[in-house]
Symmetry: C2
Subunit: 268 residues, 2 copies
């Protein structure tokens, strides 16, 4: 059996009881570690589960999928995903492959940033399409997500912006080499994302969004050290919400309860 277990968003105890039972009786436990992170590391999980946890990066998941599914035919494999199992396309793909190969699968759901983000008081019913904001480089500054934010806003809808994660990126020097060297992991902060947004907004003649637009920034949602801050785009571009993961929201129209809720996080 392949158990695909959502770990939730905070620490080891955010797993569900059903998920923990699956992990405890599994023959092999694999942690997917490139689409998200918890506030704790592998060692803390190993201690809590009382068994070793293999960490799988993108290559290991994509290239090792066949071997993992083969193992799941004759033993119990628990594949751990931060948040909910269906948060990333790659996991849906894995479940589909398992089903196509006749491997029994059990999915154990958990909180994901896609629903937990409502902890800032903005209602899930008022969110439009979610976007991802990628790290810009000197030569590559994509801004297609901005159009989606504008479309949501024109309908009065909030936009959840997921912020880029780069783990195990090869250094530019080693990219064509056989033995890769890797850059340290990078996680985009609310400040960095706001700064990129500011640059886009400056070039937007229609001024649907300006530097005074309200932004809600969230860090480590669902953990004990969760931090929420709301302020103008300009203010948020110099904010410090601490360690990753961060995400931000560009609100649409605010209902009275939403306004009242968000006000507790407002900085000038």
């Amino acid at each position: 059996m392949l158990y695909v277990v959502g770990l939730g968003l905070g620490d080891a105890k955010d797993i569900t009881v059903k998920g923990l039972e699956a992990v405890r009786q599994a023959d092999r436990v694999i942690l997917e570690a490139y689409t998200s992170i918890l506030t704790i590391g592998r060692e803390a999980l190993e201690e809590y589960y009382g068994k070793p946890v293999e960490v799988a990066d993108r290559d290991a998941v994509e290239q090792g999928a066949a071997e993992m599914l083969e193992a799941a035919k004759s033993s119990d494999v628990a594949f751990l995903v931060v948040g909910d199992p269906f948060g990333a396309t790659t996991h849906a793909d894995l479940v589909l492959r398992a089903r196509n190969e006749g491997v029994p699968v059990q999915v154990i759901h958990n909180a994901s940033i896609m629903n937990a983000v409502a902890c800032c008081g903005l209602q899930l019913y008022h969110f439009g399409e979610t976007v991802s904001i990628p790290f810009w480089t000197e030569t590559w500054k994509p801004d297609s997500f901005y159009e989606k934010i504008i479309k949501n806003k024109s309908r009065g809808l909030h936009t959840l912006c997921l912020l880029d994660i780069q783990v195990k990126e090869p250094t530019p020097e080693s990219i064509t080499k056989k033995v890769k060297q890797y850059l340290p992991p990078r996680f985009m902060s609310v400040a960095q994302a706001s700064e990129q947004l500011l640059k886009i907004v400056e070039d937007d003649c229609e001024k649907v969004i300006t530097e005074d637009n309200l932004i809600v920034g969230l860090a480590r949602v669902g953990s004990d050290s969760q931090k929420i801050m709301a302020g103008s785009l300009k203010t948020m571009s110099v904010s410090d919400l601490g360690p990753p993961l961060h995400c931000l929201i560009v609100p649409g129209e605010l209902h009275p309860l939403e306004t009242e809720y968000v006000e507790q996080y407002l900085v000038k």
Copy 2:
């Protein structure tokens, strides 16, 4: 302390370890029972927790909030919500009241239909605004949700449709009386929702959606008896997905992986 604990979507073991610890040490446990249901009842929860569980309907939550917050000032109260604590406006309101009154609050997240719905293979990133479909009566047939579905579809986005729940509705005869009598609880099925949608579609001259439009129906998401079925609107209007809760999706544009995933649920 007021613990607001998400129970997830299936049975007693879908609670998180953190949530279960809060419940086990709480002085009082209250289950909110009018915005959603689990596949098990109060008795099963009481047995699992080893303590009594009070069931609170809408009146009890709204009128009893002051008393509950007062109790949480000097003891530990666990308020249990099916899905995630922030799935319904009323719970955000409760948390805000608690904070305003200086009652310490801990929110314990869990899976919600808003993220678990991706188990059908449609990616969360491709969803637009969520809508609710209410029960029609002889004289009241609201269809404002249809416009939102069309707007999502015109942007290629999927629409999650949450289906009406009516618990503790007074009978028409007793509505003006002091002692109310109540109708049996009703939960809208995928078939009923599809039937209402069919009626709207028949009157839509622009034919953005027709009776041949693909619909994905989901029942008891996250439980062992979860059922997913995909077919034309016409087919789904006579489908039977079993006991509640149901929800449905009006898909926008399908990406190849989404098509392949949904095909496993297709009925003709």
